[in-house]
Symmetry: C2
Subunit: 206 residues, 2 copies
Amino acid sequence: MRYYRISDETVRRLPIYLRGLLFLAEQGQQNISSRKLADFLGVNSWQIRKDFSYFGGFGTRGVGYSIEKLIKQINKILKLDVGHKAALVGVGNLGSAVLIYPGFRIYGFDIAAAFDANPKKVGRKIRNITIEDISNLQTLKKRKINLAIIAVPRDAAQQTADALIKAGVKGILNFSPHYIAVPKKVKVITIDIAMDLARLPYYMPT
Amino acid sequence: MRYYRISDETVRRLPIYLRGLLFLAEQGQQNISSRKLADFLGVNSWQIRKDFSYFGGFGTRGVGYSIEKLIKQINKILKLDVGHKAALVGVGNLGSAVLIYPGFRIYGFDIAAAFDANPKKVGRKIRNITIEDISNLQTLKKRKINLAIIAVPRDAAQQTADALIKAGVKGILNFSPHYIAVPKKVKVITIDIAMDLARLPYYMPT
DNA sequence: CTATGTGAATTTATTCACAGCA
DNA sequence: TGCTGTGAATAAATTCACATAG
């Protein structure tokens, strides 16, 4: 059991493994081999073994890996074991969908606040979240929210990020189709759904 | 001007470049250096030059790249120059947001049809799209739609994909948090927004 | 003198192949 | 015998450094 630096590529794959393992645990399964897990997730078995070996020693030769142990360990590595509160900024079509999206739960996330610049939306309630005015962003630090999801129009993305960082946010999931400049200590992950669609035709036969 | 095989990593970056170049073209700019473009997009200049060199010869030494030429060329490589019709399957919260999302336009996409399994939703109109019953999927081939976006619940993802492929779909953008098995000739790109959020805490200071 | 284009060097990631443990 | 864990081999991507063209 050795501890290497875990590469970004491995970190990108860990949530995939986690998702599958949680599913299997739900089904009551206890152990799984790298081969079976690989088939289930659509990846390679040696990739899984290699990735797990970076923080490894969780498998039993001849048997496979303990699903429960792996879930615990991956959660710990990804720092998901502590639970995180996130804020949503921009309650438009995409933002509303994100606010309602149930899939964050399994990774321990709770979207605990929502903000919008439009006064007409402020005060409205979605699920059990009341939309607040964007000027309330500064309260995030007090509320121990250091994660945010940006779903504002492109032109407002940078200033929203600036305000969030001022409010103590350390991680941003950005849905706006624009580059956001941030200090090095802040991590931004961008999802541009149109951009992902744009890669498809390249791989399709003509 | 040589033609290499363009790597997957480069293909992943091309839409980023394209997005930025379209923005700059909109502003009336004609040329841009790799350095300036890099700063604008938050990437490295040598990465841009290297990527462009794979299909290159579009720059002028001392001046930079012609924005218009680059846009044309990237569109051509990504096969976006022909325009594509896409179908949406699953008009829930996320699906509705995707259906309304304006960002597909710049890459030449047109979401031309929407399907849902819920009879209550069938017949409803969103924007100018009337939601059809899932059993109509087979009409896609006739309608020359060979791209699809899956936004159905996890349990329905695989069967939806199967039906789409049967209907002649060659590329799938999958929002369902589950692996989808497809024939090799079909390309799937998966977006799992919760999974992307799950990578953030790892990079955040504790 | 500026900025491209590209070989070469380096770093990083993937794949293989198999020793070794349960 | 089955499956992990990991060095070694291979492949791929990034970064550098600079010759070269405008």
